[in-house]
Structure formats: C-alpha cells, structure tokens
Amino acid sequence: MTFLAALCAGLLFGAGLLMSRMCDPERVLAFLDIAGPWNPALAFTMGGAVLVAAPAFYFVRKRGADLRGSPTTLPDRFKITPRLIGGSAIFGVGWGLSGICPGPSLLLLTGGSVSAVVFVAAILAGFFASSRIDAAGNRR
C-alpha cells in the first residue's frame, strides 16, 4: 500500500510537471523574467497545485494522522532562520541561472542529454557539500 500510493503520487506529480511543461527551462525563465514578455503560466501551475493539496494538509494537520491513522507530524511552520533564507536565496540563484529545479531535472534525465546528466550530478554534489558542512558544524 505504501509503495503503491507513493508510485501513484509520483505518477500524478510527474504527469503534472509534464503537462504544465515545467521541465522546459526556457519556459520557466520566461515566467521569472518579469521585465520581459512575462508568461504567467507557472503561477497557474503553482496555484492549482496548492489549491488541491491544501485541504489534504489541513486534514492531516488537524487530525495529526494520515488516512490510515498513522501519527503524522508536519514540519514546523513558523521558525524563520538565517539558514532557511540563505539556502533559499542560493537555490534561487541556481534556479534563475538554469530555469531548472529538482523535480524537472529528474524528468529531463529521461531525454538522455549530457546537459541533464551534468545538472543532476551537480545537484547531488551540492547535496553532498551541504551535508559535509553540516557534519563539520556538528563536530564543533
């Protein structure tokens, strides 16, 4: 059940990214280019996604459990840290340079281009660097 639900969730998510053409870097950059011929499409994608997911989050948050009754704790909603803002800014720079965020990068891999492989490998290297710095910080 867990495996099947996760597979279905992934299929829906992946079909949504494909349908909204979020994996076309130029299209994402056209949304981010507010001074150019602005394309609002991505706002519809994010808005639609939030609209559908919000009731599910409300339900689980109030209940403290998922539909199967397993206790479910959602992440803290109010703790604002320099780490949150700094990390988001760094991510934003990478997203603005490339027009690619983590979900679409995985879809792009299916095209088999060197560009996609290099980008995903770099993401993994970034994960690794981040966890190394965290580990070093924890040792102090």
Binding site: A9, A53, A54, D66, P75, K79, S88, G94, S98, P102
Partner: protein
C-alpha cells in the same frame, strides 16, 4: 494584462492540479511530504524509506516523461553554467530543507510562514538573476 484563458494557461493549471493531487495522495495515504529535493537526497544515499516509498515515488515521477517524451525543451545555458547552477540548487535546497515542491507546493498548502518566506526568497533571487542575465543590468 487582460487575462483570457489560453489553452497554454489551461494546461498549466491542469498540470498544477495533477501536481497537487500527487502531493495530496502521498500525504493522505503515506503521511509523507512530496518534497523532491529531500526525497532525492535521501534516495541518493540509499535511504529509500519504509517499504521503499521514495524509490516508488521517483519511479512514478519520471515514468510519464519516459513514456510520452519531454516535448520541446531548450536548455538556456551551456555545461559550465549548468554545473554551477546545479551545485547551487543542490546546496541551497538542502540548506533550506526544501525546493519548489517542498516549500512552494506542500509548504504553502500547509499554510506555513516558513515556506512562504522561502518561496518569496527563491522566487525573488531567481527573478533578480534572470533580470541581470537577460537585461544586462543590476537594478
């Protein structure tokens, strides 16, 4: 701007509804959050989670693109810039514990102030970079 719903906007909205449905299913049935940077980071370390749910999600995620093809896509930059951008995306999303999916979709759906600030920050940073690259000026 006059807002007439073109087929392109309908597709964008429809895709968004599907993305939201995927996040809802994962949360309602498995009690998990569809944050792709976190799922990918754990899976890359071999941490597939209970009953390999992370692996299942990732397989589902890429399956539609693998079956139907990506359509027309254009990479905006060459390999050196893509490599630097990928590093920043990986580093930043782990530092901030979320990306467009974890903060932008799930966090906003959870009415999280943290995710709202994260989303405003990465959107602003990205828009600023695009402005500098495309219009050649620091505002």
């Amino acid at each position: 701007m006059s807002l007439s719903m073109t087929p392109d906007l309908w597709r964008s909205l429809g895709g968004g509804l599907l993305i939201g449905a995927g996040a809802a299913v994962l949360l309602l049935v498995d009690g998990r959050i569809a944050g792709i940077s976190g799922i990918l980071e754990n899976a890359a370390r071999g941490a597939f989670g209970a009953l390999r749910w992370r692996l299942a999600f990732l397989v589902g995620l890429v399956a539609p693109a693998a079956v139907y093809g990506l359509g027309a896509i254009r990479f905006a930059e060459g390999l050196p810039v893509l490599a630097i951008a990928g590093l920043l995306v990986g580093f930043g999303t782990r530092m901030a514990s979320g990306c467009t999916s974890g903060h932008g979709v799930c966090g906003l759906a959870n009415a999280s102030l943290r995710s709202l600030l994260a989303t405003l920050t990465f959107m602003s940073a990205a828009a600023l970079v695009v402005f500098i690259v495309r219009h050649g000026a620091v505002p």
